[in-house]
């Protein structure tokens, strides 16, 4: 028990938590925007893979880090365009399209990797984003190093979460997006285009998912590996449910999951790790997430028109 307490009060632990949380925050906000507009985007896992690869490849090819992030975002948006074209105007099953996009995006990425780097045995490295401590704020004990001594991409993640909440609840655009997820007929009756709102939400949301993927290759690590996204996309879908489709709660969920994940790595190195198989620790964050999901999502208010295609003039 003392060992766990030691871990929980250490600044390095919380620094790791925030680092693990950052990609989840981007992708969770992306998924949340899609779902609030009424579209479940199961392409998230594949789009994160695309983002991870595209950002890293762009930098490796000589672009700067921020242009690399932009390339990642644009490539995610391209897959968002594909997803939303099939699910919104054509009204196809969001499950089938989403899984298809994930398979296509993942396979296309690995294929492109092989084409671009036919002869390498280990992937080349890039110079990733480096920590940029925020003046003054980073000197607060524990919180300072954890929250304000991260890479600029993490700060962007904070901003994205705050901006998502602002737009959804304070602006006419956010109201229109939420209404598209609640009752598209109401949006139509008020003279707005459901197709434009939903496609826009999916394209923007997919761009954010890709930036979440890019965080892995451009900030957390400095290279691209197969299987690197490793189910993070699916976790983000669960986090949106956990957060009851609210940005604040979803961000809290991301923090919680990241804390479990960081904790299990450290627990493997304690005395406990000699008696318990390491797979149990690996399982821990997922098991706890499922538990939290069951508790939290009892009375969550699902967007009423989530996964319901809207056909104008249907009868």
């Amino acid at each position: 028990m003392m060992e766990i307490l030691d871990i929980l009060v250490s600044a390095t632990f919380w620094t790791a938590v925030i680092r693990i949380m950052s990609p989840l925050l981007f992708a969770t906000m992306g998924e949340l925007i899609c779902e609030r507009a009424g579209v479940l985007n199961l392409g998230i896992e594949g789009i994160m893979v695309v983002g991870a690869f595209a950002g890293w490849m762009a930098v490796y090819s000589g672009l700067g880090l921020w242009p690399g992030v932009a390339v990642a975002m644009l490539s995610g948006m391209a897959f968002g365009l594909l997803h939303s074209t099939l699910t919104v105007p054509f009204g196809l099953s969001q499950h089938v399209v989403g899984l298809g996009v994930t398979l296509l995006a993942t396979a296309a990425t690995y294929f492109t990797y092989r084409l671009a780097l036919p002869q390498v045995s280990s992937p080349p490295r890039i110079q990733p984003f480096t920590e940029w401590p925020v003046p003054v704020l980073s000197e607060i004990p524990v919180i300072g190093p954890a929250v304000f001594s991260q890479t600029p991409l993490t700060y962007l993640a904070y901003a994205v979460a705050a901006l998502t909440a602002w737009v959804l609840y304070r602006t006419p655009l956010g109201l229109a997006l939420r209404a598209a997820g609640e009752n598209p007929a109401a949006v139509e009756a008020q003279g707005l285009s459901v197709v434009a709102l939903r496609m826009g939400a999916v394209i923007l949301g997919s761009g954010l998912m890709a930036v979440g993927g890019a965080f892995l290759t451009m900030s957390a690590f400095n290279s691209f590996f197969f299987e690197m996204v490793n189910g993070r996309g699916w976790i983000c879908i669960a986090l949106v449910v956990f957060g009851a489709w609210r940005p604040g709660k979803a961000a809290l969920g991301a923090l919680l999951f990241a804390a479990f994940d960081a904790l299990q790595i450290r627990l493997q190195q304690t005395g406990l790790g000699q008696h318990v198989p390491y797979q149990v620790f690996l399982m821990l964050p997922y098991a706890l997430s499922i538990l939290a999901l069951v508790v939290m999502s009892r009375r969550a208010e699902v967007p009423a028109a989530l996964m319901v295609p809207f056909n104008k003039g249907a009868r």
Binding site: R170, T171, P172, L175, A185, A186, Q190
Partner: protein, 514 residues
Amino acid sequence: MTAGAGARPVVLRVAEVTRRFGDLLANDAITFDLHQGEVVALLGENGAGKTTLMNILFGHYTADAGTVEVFGRPLPPGQPRAALEAGVGMVHQHFTLAENLTVLENIVLGTESLWRPLARQAAARARVERLSRDFGLAVHPDARVGALSVGERQRVEILKALYRDARILILDEPTAVLTPQEAEALFATLRAMVAQGLSVIFISHKMHEVLAISNRVLVLRHGRLVGERATAETGAQELARLMVGADIALPEPRAHSPGAVLLRLSGVKTEPRGRTAGLRGLDLALRAGQITGLAGVSGNGQAALAAVIAGLDAPVEGTLEIAGQVPAAWSPRAAIHAGIGRIPEDRHAEGTIADFTLTENAMLERMAEPPFARAGLIDWAAARRFAERVIADYDVRCPGPDAPIRLLSGGNMQKLILGRALEFGPRIILANQPVRGLDIGAVAYVQRRLIAARDAGAAILLISEDLDEIQAMSDVIHVISEGRLSPPFARGEKTAHELGQWMAGHGFEGADAA
């Protein structure tokens, strides 16, 4: 033409509007004018093309041919936004509100530029409050729409249109869901709007309302405009003839002496489910040879009561007796075996499976037992014979027993459900909204069959939101409000107005004090 109406400027001109859905000619070259400050009623049966016409005006559908002019300018087809900007507002039959958003959010949706960094809440709220005061549309701007009553939701819909400066308001079957008192309040609002120079198109199939509120009546039948009358110069009989094309009289059941109690509920309580009320200690007796009418605004416990009787739900407290005995177990199957025939509220959601054939739908309730199943196998020949018998005996117009039921009109679908329920000679019939959405010929048919079943000794519970229907059909009437049941009233004992008071929750023990 009424005096004055012709002198006022034309605000809306519909010319030769035509629209087809497949083989169905929903609107056939319809032409009419709407003047400033008048209420025009659009009268017609379900399926006559009223809603299609209004959806074309509002841009939800595009017309195959014809034009619409608003204030002298042609309206581009297929764009609700253009209709809104031209000053046309529409209150749909099925409200277009987002339940998880507040009243204010629903009203301002789409009225501001989407790219504003901050919504103008305070100004919007002040404007909504002023409009509610001016037109008598009381509703709290911050209430979640999901928590509002049906009458309040309708006010939100009207406010939505007024907020956008609508000069022409289209109301599609606005009174279908209201108590008589709420309908009166709506009429007062409409009169206030007309007095301020707005124009109203009022769609309805209820004659007395049309006569009460309109200046002019247009009658649609099978997609065609078959008559135009000044309200002052016409009457219910003439309009009914125009609407139906022939004289169809609804059946008037003769008094009938009731027999023994076949189903009795004593002190039944159930849990509320979502927005619909649960039952709060309810006593009810259904007698043989009697139609018991249940009046009330939807969502007041009708669904819970129907679920208990149909075996979908067991009471939390209290007892249910069938012919004096408490059944050992209560399930839909037990209910069917106890001789309860069911006509479910929603024939699409609960009554049928759209892509199944008529044969499959006909046997659905008894698919695992004789005569339809033997030794665990379905006897398709027997099922088909049964379906053919129902189709013939109940005049179900259809391509045949092997056609999917979704091809049928509402009336024919309902006849199949009715036949399926009545063919096994039920002792108790649960008829939940049996004629909603049917044309008058089908209404008369279904009602005649129910009366015949009553005369043959069945105990019938008739649940309906249409007070006229309840009053015409029932031997005894209960009103349900928030899960409580009024005492039984004999036929003709209470006026519609008095029943409306009960529907609004007045008269129940302790309710007035609260």
